[in-house]
């Protein structure tokens, strides 16, 4: 099947409208197979490169609904979604190792078009990491490279978002109206704590603060609280 950027973007419009005809379905199937093949290549290279470093390395392929949500939430076109194919590396130390891993990833994909997006310099609603965009022809992939603290923060925000609404990850206010006053306060305090922990992580990673253990403890507390509330209210 021959695809063009225009055809991919018109498929994106159909995905947004939720109205995929048979032709769109088959184009999506083909596109997903191309993304998956790109993902396979990215994953294989990363595992070969980082497999002995005791880092966490994995790859995620977005499904139709998560693609649709992203298209509806943003002004991006389908051909420019870079995280449909999303690899993740969690290094086992701080910024120096993260920076080294970014350079190694860029070198690893020297035969692709590569771009670095530094979300430490430009955080996305508190989310910090370095992303490496990898383009192969029409298809885009992304490698998220995180330190353990950045990763745990992102994970905590993801967990909390299950209870207070996914929009908090994109700057929205936590939605807590349906909870009892006690739970509501716990959730709002957790959200505020998490925002504050994000600020402290940034200072800690550049060496202004030296409180790594305390930061992990704070994040673990929020994760445990989320699970405890989920057990009780779901």
């Amino acid at each position: 099947m021959e695809l063009s950027r225009a055809r991919i973007d018109s498929l994106g419009e159909a995905i947004k409208s939720g109205d995929l005809n048979d032709v769109d379905q088959s184009v999506f199937s083909y596109l997903r197979s191309q993304w998956a093949e790109l993902g396979n290549e990215i994953s294989n290279r990363l595992i070969l490169e980082f497999g002995n470093d005791n880092f966490g390395v994995s790859l995620r392929l977005k499904n139709l609904e998560t693609i649709r949500s992203k298209l509806l939430r943003t002004t991006l076109r389908l051909s420019s979604l870079r995280d449909v194919v999303g690899a993740r590396i969690v290094v086992n130390d701080g910024l120096i190792l993260q920076n080294e891993s970014v350079l190694r990833s860029v070198a690893l994909f020297g035969d692709y078009a590569v771009k670095i997006i530094d979300r430490r310099e430009f955080p996305s609603f508190g989310y910090r990491a370095v992303h490496v965009e990898v383009r192969h022809g029409l298809y885009l992939g992304e490698i998220q490279i995180r330190t353990p603290l950045q990763h745990e923060w992102a994970r905590s925000m993801e967990s909390l978002a299950r209870l207070v609404g996914r929009d908090v990850r994109y700057g929205g206010e936590p939605v807590v109206d349906t909870y009892s006053p006690v739970v509501r306060n716990l959730l709002l305090n957790s959200y505020r704590d998490l925002v504050e922990l994000g600020r402290r992580i940034e200072l800690s990673e550049v060496g202004v603060l030296n409180d790594t253990a305390e930061l992990f403890e704070g994040l673990t507390t929020i994760n445990s609280l989320v699970i405890e509330i989920e057990r009780k209210v779901r």
């Binding site: 998956a36 994995s58 790859l59 995620r60 499904n63 609904e65 998560t66 993801e158 967990s159 989320v226």
Partner: protein, 82 residues
Amino acid sequence: MIVIVQFRRSTGKLIGIDRFCDEDFWPSLDRLAELDRQNTEPQDVEVVRLTSQSEAMLARTHGNYFSEYAMSNVQTEVVKAE
């Protein structure tokens, strides 16, 4: 390995997990498409295809899907099957 998880956001728990070896690249994509088609609650149920060296590695990079709590329903189903 390749894993496809079905994760219910409203409970924070997995409702299904399919495991494939690396050679099952195409069957895993077919299964992902099938689960996507069958998913009647797409706002609440995420269907995600993950690849890594091991499930332990996935627990490290995608811990929210692989925590003891998230997997409690799936584990229960395994115990029932035994």
